[in-house]
Symmetry: C2
Subunit: 400 residues, 2 copies
Amino acid sequence: MKILILGMDGYIGWSLALSQLNFGNQVCGIDNYSRRKCVEEVGSWSAMPILPMSKRLEILRKKYGDKISFYEGNLVDSQFTNDIIKKFKPDAIVHLAEQPSAPYSMIDQQHCLYTQNNNVTGTLNVVYAMRKHAPKAHLVKLGTMGEYGYGNDIDITEGFMEIEFRGKKALIPYPKMAGSWYHWTKVHDSNNIMFACKLWNLTSTDIMQGIVYGTRTDEISHDALHTRFDFDEVFGTVINRFCAQAVIDHPLTVYGKGRQTRGFLALEDSIQCLSILINNPPQVGEYRVVNQFDEQYNVRELAEHVKNVGNKKGLDLEIESIENPRVEKEEHYYKADHEKLKQLGFKATRHIDDQISMMLDDLVQYKDRILAKKDAIVQVVKWNDGIKQSVVNPTIPRKN
Amino acid sequence: MKILILGMDGYIGWSLALSQLNFGNQVCGIDNYSRRKCVEEVGSWSAMPILPMSKRLEILRKKYGDKISFYEGNLVDSQFTNDIIKKFKPDAIVHLAEQPSAPYSMIDQQHCLYTQNNNVTGTLNVVYAMRKHAPKAHLVKLGTMGEYGYGNDIDITEGFMEIEFRGKKALIPYPKMAGSWYHWTKVHDSNNIMFACKLWNLTSTDIMQGIVYGTRTDEISHDALHTRFDFDEVFGTVINRFCAQAVIDHPLTVYGKGRQTRGFLALEDSIQCLSILINNPPQVGEYRVVNQFDEQYNVRELAEHVKNVGNKKGLDLEIESIENPRVEKEEHYYKADHEKLKQLGFKATRHIDDQISMMLDDLVQYKDRILAKKDAIVQVVKWNDGIKQSVVNPTIPRKN
């Protein structure tokens, strides 16, 4: 199979590329390195150093020859997106090439607009290019459980729900109530993709993914193959950030009451799910939505897990509640279906405590790099008020 | 009151400006004349000639003095949007400044992207500027009944609906299933505005408006004050287009079976509704949705109305079914609530047949101008396949 990975330089993109190459598939990647630039902009870097793409490719080519190819470019550039899809003729397009941070989108107006344009225009260019040059390809698009929001009083279904209203039955899209400008871009994308499937008979799986954690997958056999690992407040997700805090003896910072409940998934299992979806496309013309996560936890429970595992390793960890910078419910009903991937064969292979243990072992080797960017862990983007402009370095261009 | 009208050069914007000035309000308008340019791009013009804005303003200033002001500019330009709202400090902002045509957004990729960026970025700039400089203003935003779509098997509510699901009750946003890239931009806008209200306590009324028809309002007392009237296939809406076809003895072209049902509203009554909403803002921080239309008809019924009224005037009219260029259901369930405006005092003042009669009388005086752009009535943008490139003149810049 020919797999086009949009955003191959990223946390999931790089891990997926290694996995797909191991399966014997032909992989083409694209990236504009915006993640590296944005993380630098907010004053941080990957805990584990990652090689420039040219070096990454050198290593891959030794093992996989011309099964791997890569192009630097931006999906917002219609011509580029068109050319790549025309040239590679993928069987599956895995679209991970979006600005992925809610706090980043909340910094200020400029960052909101950047996120909206980058994500929505990029995705529109992908569906237009598919229609022209790969109408039978399967678009595997990364969305987020955050599209549904966390203020729902009812169970969350996988994309659609059957209701009865005023005596009539209907199958309706599950209502989306996102909680950041970033999350809304994912909703806009979902809507646009659903429409493109209806309009042009394109085929897509829209993944509502939970929060991914972990430092590695099985394929990352030596340091030079590491995927990036962000721990700053803007790009680091919650378990990853707690583990980085743990290895530098920083309190584990919980927002508010910490009763916010989310679905979680180990990186290895996220890659497993993506592979299952690639190998099991929906019907031609179908817009399929799957909820992709393993277990639910609230944020305080996660902090307790990291604390307990850390304690066993001799780390003396504290949990600290800090003012919640977000506009969100800190306690809420949360019950989300996630059956479709199980029906396709997904079995979680990682236990959260084992994974945290491995993460702490991995990260302690890079303690100095985390300490060097310690300020980036505690700076906080306020949903109501952005970030102090001085923290963000405006000299790094984020232009498309 | 100080009323900022975004899109004052347009069909509704101009009519609303005249009405608000008559009420004694202070009116500031902005426009980038994109409507004039886009209609020219698709090979048409307004049936009734409209004056350049400088001349329009001259006339208004004679009567209203400095109660009227105007700035040329583009909402996509954050600085411009910010400056206007900072300077004028409006009590209400009526946002009509969007690319308003579904077919236009379906011409090709470039027109899709233009519509997405123009509408979504423009609206984001408006809410950011409000937050900074007019946080207590009331944003009256023009959406469309088309946001809900026409494939629903259940009644359409006004924005939100109470459901029971798996034994739990919830108030959810009514599911949106738009049918064109343009309609989806309106959905994206609605979502972004709903979020802005939650985030910053802004106040907004989001209007799901039906299709507006008519050549004039009471305020248009002489020819120099005419609002624009589009009759081409891309910008002309259905009753307006039928009336233009009638006066040049062109068959009334119905798409497919013509059983597509929509809500309709006379221009005079649309302006009445807008005035009511301006005078009756929702609670501070509320995101209010109203469905704004008077009566429901299907397309074939409308053609029959135009035919019957035309017959009485001696016009010999035919109704012709042409291949439906859209991807839509031609027969569907349609029942939409529209109570909120009535509760605020709205009473329809126009009967459809009287209105059609007046339109035919108005338009027959401009028969030559309609005939001169006859080709623009029959060219058809196909939802699946865009428009023949040659029809659209790419030399007219639509850049933001």
